[in-house]
Symmetry: C2
Subunit: 469 residues, 2 copies
């Protein structure tokens, strides 16, 4: 990935200040009626001159976004109606909006091909096993199930999860585990626990698009660090630590989303040293762990859950409906997280936990995953070959899983292509949803399990020819 040149960055400082303020207003980190930072503070914050800020504020006043009040500064224009995360006009046109991919994938009908979506096809899921678990649950008295669970979640399941994460080298007792509704809820709860509005958070570039949307909801300031095939670029990482003093870094160590890359031991070790020096927390979100053939190094394993908090779920492997995620952390952190969970979600689904326990105990899950890994490996080979014929090449060949991060032929815009393909019944995931890099729009993320239909490649071939010039 290449990043904007220094010259390009200098190009429009006024615009960048304006955009930052617009973003803060859109994300409601500056609410209607709120006072903007003083011109001097803003200049300092952006490292620009006072006159640049005055210019930016004046132009925002002209746009009606903010208003000047005599003698007291600038304020966000008042309005009662709350702003949504993306408030402007037609949501469907925002191809690079982080939420766009999720929305398309969820809202598109059955007829749509979805190589851009983030999960497996429904018929890859263990329908029979889940039905068997349902029947087993229906046979026994449900009373313990229909009551509220303990705040940390089903003890037997926590015990079992400890053994599972133990296989990735992470040692934790059941008292260090907390069950949540989902992997997403796990990360969200941790963000609430760890972050103050305005805190800086590091993410990988490219990264799972939902991290951006979620961190925006937490009013965090997000800084992206380029990801290499062995983990984050350590030089850039260190620079970001010194410069932005982030409170938190969120990453996937096993099979990174969207690249499918994994951390090397060397990078893991050095990264933890840096995190310690700078007193930074790390969330290692491991939802794709079970797709690995052999476990990659885990930050949580090296760190012993001191400053790394490990999360996971079964939504990707089992069913989006079996709502059960988990957090593994230090005992002290778990206590605080339980309180926060009680305050904001009250409990997680005991029902899903029980079903999951059945599937894990019976061996059904293990057998399902063995089949899935093989099937994905075949789909991966197929997809790489098909895309190769169109000049679409993997950034790196993944060690497993469903995601393939690919570079388009020269001159093709991923967002243009996505917009045109959508009209032909193919939903793609353009790079701009995952990456802030200057060349993000040259990339697409493919889900190999959703990329088997020949139609997909004929649409791609046609639209690449049409759009390429």
């Amino acid at each position: 990935m290449t990043y904007p040149t220094a010259a390009a960055r200098r190009g429009s400082r006024t615009e960048s200040v304006m955009q930052d303020m617009r973003d803060r207003i859109a994300s409601r980190s500056l609410a209607a009626g709120a006072r903007l930072p003083s011109v001097r503070a803003c200049a300092q914050m952006h490292g620009v001159s006072v006159s640049t800020v005055v210019d930016a504020y004046d132009r925002l006043v002209a746009e009606g976004v903010i208003e000047a009040r005599r003698g007291s500064g600038f304020y966000v224009s008042d309005r009662l109606v709350p702003l949504s995360l993306n408030d402007a006009g037609d949501r469907r046109s925002h191809v690079s909006d982080p939420v766009w991919v999720a929305r398309q994938a969820l809202e598109s009908g059955e007829a749509m091909h979805k190589p851009g979506c983030g999960w497996l096809p429904a018929d890859w899921m263990p329908d029979q096993d889940i039905r068997r678990a349902l029947r087993a649950m229906a046979r026994q008295p449900l009373a313990p199930l229909t009551a509220y669970g303990t705040p940390q979640g089903l003890p037997a399941l926590r015990q079992l999860l400890c053994r599972r994460i133990g296989e990735r080298g992470i040692s934790a007792g059941p008292e260090q585990l907390l069950l949540t509704e989902s992997g997403t809820q796990a990360v969200d709860l941790l963000c609430r626990y760890l972050l103050e509005p305005g805190d800086t958070v590091l993410v990988d570039d490219p990264c799972y698009f939902s991290f951006h949307a979620m961190l925006r909801a937490h009013r965090a300031s997000v800084v992206s660090v380029p990801y290499t095939p062995n983990g984050p670029d350590l030089a850039a990482f260190e620079q970001c630590l010194s410069r932005h003093r982030p409170r938190l870094y969120i990453t996937n160590s096993g099979l990174q989303n969207p690249t499918g890359a994994a951390l090397s031991f060397e990078v893991a070790h050095r990264l933890l040293q840096l995190a310690q020096q700078h007193e930074m927390w790390i969330i290692e979100d491991d939802v794709l762990a079970d797709f690995e053939w052999r476990p990659a190094p885990r930050l949580a394993a090296l760190d012993g859950l001191q400053r790394v908090i490990h999360t996971g779920s079964f939504s990707k492997t089992l069913s989006a409906s079996v709502r059960c995620g988990y957090i593994a952390a230090g005992v002290k952190e778990v206590a605080g997280l339980v309180d926060l969970k009680l305050a904001t979600a009250f409990e997680s689904g005991h029902f899903s936990a029980e079903m999951l326990l059945q599937l894990l105990r019976s061996g059904a899950y293990r057998r399902h995953m063995e089949g899935l890994r093989k099937r994905l490996a075949e789909a991966m080979t197929h997809t790489i070959r098909q895309l190769g014929e169109l000049g679409i090449v993997p950034w790196a060949e993944p060690r497993g899983g469903m995601f393939l991060w690919c570079r388009l032929p020269q001159g093709i815009s991923a967002s243009d292509l996505a917009r045109r393909a959508l009209a032909s019944g193919v939903m793609l995931a353009p790079g701009g949803s995952f990456s802030q890099a200057a060349d993000a729009d040259s990339y697409l993320r493919f889900n190999v399990s959703q990329s088997l239909a020949p139609d997909i490649y004929s649409v791609l071939a046609r639209e690449i020819t049409a759009g390429g010039g």
Copy 2:
């Protein structure tokens, strides 16, 4: 309820400023290392003199909670480890902590009597019906269920919910409904959508204790308005609006928790006028609606979902494990909420939604609720009689539901009683968890469905005699 006298309030302004700062630090609305408001700003905010604030800050410095930095103000003492919601020592001793009741109720074993807990006994739940629904689900192909749902949630269920809330006079189309994981998650999502850190929120006094814990997590400043048997005290309500300019009011209209009281039409109408004048949002959390014999007036019905957002769930009536809550709001708000849900929870459980749909469609839920209302009415009569013999009297007789808000005999402290009863195997819910009023500790909330065991009354009798003096 009586409130602290003006004299008592004036008594310790320094302590009140200190407590406010401690609360902000505990809730992390002021993070480690954050700068405190300037002495002048703080004085203005609290309506006290500058010297009072200087005194308060000096004492907090002496306590090690904050530190002074030369020439630049006061800062929260730096520490890496994040603060939990209640960070101090042994969590179990905090009888008046809002989370205490929830924690006790969830963590206490089967042997404990729980008149203080917030839900029905497991054996009051429709075990057979749920098992039948599970079997029905196990018979059909699950593919559509195991996939991710549409972001707003199962359309057929939304349609059915529209009819149900229509019976309370609220007219909304399915496009105005959004499904969530639970009622709690519904309110939490709305708080995220509507609130900025530091915003003021009105709640009833007494109110559902989780609102306090949740609003703390949102870094909102909470102002309580006394609740009367017909709704909030309007004079106090209006005063709060003028004085604190709250952004939001959260209430239960149907059967208020913990009092079981309901809104009158007159109060509802005037309250909405006030909300409009002051451009305030209202969340009407209606989780107890199905316990009513006849629907009480609903703010959302009168307002037409303009500035009132209505929420509900089935956790209290059906099963805490059937995770399905809902939000009814204006179309514009729903669009924004969907984005926020995608960003922070991704989806809600399609599985639970499907099970709920089965139970609602088959009539099983209706029959279950008819039985439940009768059984609760009997338990209510029984509990009132038994408590009466101990001199514990209802604040008002509820129109239905499970909660009874009761005043203890003169001189008995609810938190003391709760602590002692817990040691004898009875978990109570002391008034301080629900109320900020000066006499809060004279009240207990009883759940009549959990108050049938004779042991409960012998423990209460013994402890009241022992503690009363």
